[in-house]
Symmetry: none
Subunit: 262 residues, 2 copies
């Protein structure tokens, strides 16, 4: 498709939304995919690219495939682990297609995009894409709050990595054009949302407490923490709520340990 004058101008509000959205590529094997991801992002108005432990970067192939989006490669943030890339995010969206024992909440790309725009405007959002051959591992998958599934054909379901990025950032742009470009202001939540790091601290605290009360046997944990992560991960907890949940655990521990001075 050729250059066009008939593009869509982004409003200031839309640009501000995109300032808070990052694309995270985890363990990318083919550096050409990093370049075509950068191009797909810039075509749709996104600019923040994170690379978790890429096999080769910087690379000539990535620069070549990015065409006129090499500025996104220049400003890409390279980090060793996925937690480094998403720790401060309120919404972490995973796109690995592997089936899991415990199902994460799953959305189509369109629902995902609507949710990002309508509920998470101004919050940090990460769109995470796994390795070309094996996707995200279980530990990485656990950091996601939502799983996006592109409804591909049963005859050939394996999307190219940058094609998957293209579809998701396109849906995000369409949702932003539809919702943020009008003066239409949605309801605003009354407290900032919890971050992925804050949630991780809560899960750790919860696990300790459940061991103390004998509900969780560390020798045979089964799927308990995974189920609780799925449960709390989909609430979109705000920071005040997270403080309440942490406070409850602290009081339970004090009572059990006889540390209460009542």
């Amino acid at each position: 498709m050729t250059e066009t004058e008939q593009t869509e101008r982004s409003s200031a509000r839309m640009n501000a939304f995109f300032d808070h959205v990052r694309v995270v590529l985890v363990g990318t094997i083919h550096s050409g995919n990093i370049g075509s991801t950068a191009r797909a992002m810039k075509n749709m108005g996104l600019h923040r690219l994170y690379l978790v432990d890429p096999v080769e970067f910087p690379s000539r192939e990535a620069s070549y495939m990015s065409v006129s989006a090499s500025d996104l490669l220049d400003t890409a943030v390279v980090v060793p682990t996925m937690m480094d890339a998403v720790g401060d995010c309120a919404l972490v969206i995973g796109t690995s297609a592997r089936e899991r024992k415990i199902q994460l909440p799953t959305a189509r790309p369109r629902e995902m995009a609507e949710r990002c725009v309508q509920r998470f405007e101004g919050q940090e959002i990460a769109l995470v894409f796994g390795r070309e051959d094996s996707g995200l591992n279980n530990e990485e998958m656990r950091l996601c709050h939502l799983h996006v599934h592109v409804p591909t054909s049963e005859n050939y379901s394996s999307l190219n990595l940058s094609a998957a990025v293209q579809l998701l950032v396109y849906e995000l742009r369409i949702a932003a054009l539809d919702h943020l470009d009008q003066a239409n202001d949605g309801p605003v939540w009354d407290s900032p949302l919890a971050t992925a790091e804050g949630l991780e601290r809560y899960y750790k605290h919860l696990e300790e407490t459940l061991i103390e009360v004998g509900f969780l046997n560390p020798a045979a944990p089964r799927q308990l923490m995974a189920r609780l992560r799925r449960l709390y991960g989909r609430i979109e907890l705000d920071q005040m709520e997270l403080n309440i949940l942490r406070g409850m655990l602290t009081e339970i521990q004090k009572t059990i340990r006889g540390e209460r001075n009542t």
Copy 2:
């Protein structure tokens, strides 16, 4: 993105719709784009590819980029002019982005897809993509009934050819899933949802426990239970999750009361 079992089955009606849709590439310069177009089509359930006067075809690069969609290259129809490729079509959709003196009706990809599915089911439809550098010429453009415009960013509007194909055939698949495939319900949750009564019992149990651990003062309850209701109320808890939460409270109470026989 990896292979997935969680694909979407196409209904017979949807497959019949796709049997009448062709993708037409006009004067494609880079044969790799022919291959990635084939992959994008097959990922979305399409299979009819027409090539108008391609610069190089068959080609090794096209086969390589098609990955597991080389069957679409084997059955591709190569013709000398665009008229040969679209002459029998009821709807010819052009995607060249160059401005014209006489403007065609223009649609976004989503509107285009809705229109194809709702008005042209069973009719022959052609999605036509021009040359990478110069798009469709005026004579080719005149054969189109509708012009599709992808709302790219004003900072970088030039989409890769196969990325444009990917977006349009994706929209076609989503519209087909939404309208032609009513039997196809979204992903099913693995346990029935909790009832309102079950939730009320949980809130009562939670309140008791919070009083026992001294986190909730019945004389000055403030907004604590209201906040916790808002929190748990929006999770759409399933019954197994509710059982886990109730079980946690029971173990906490036993521990506090010294009723545990460990």
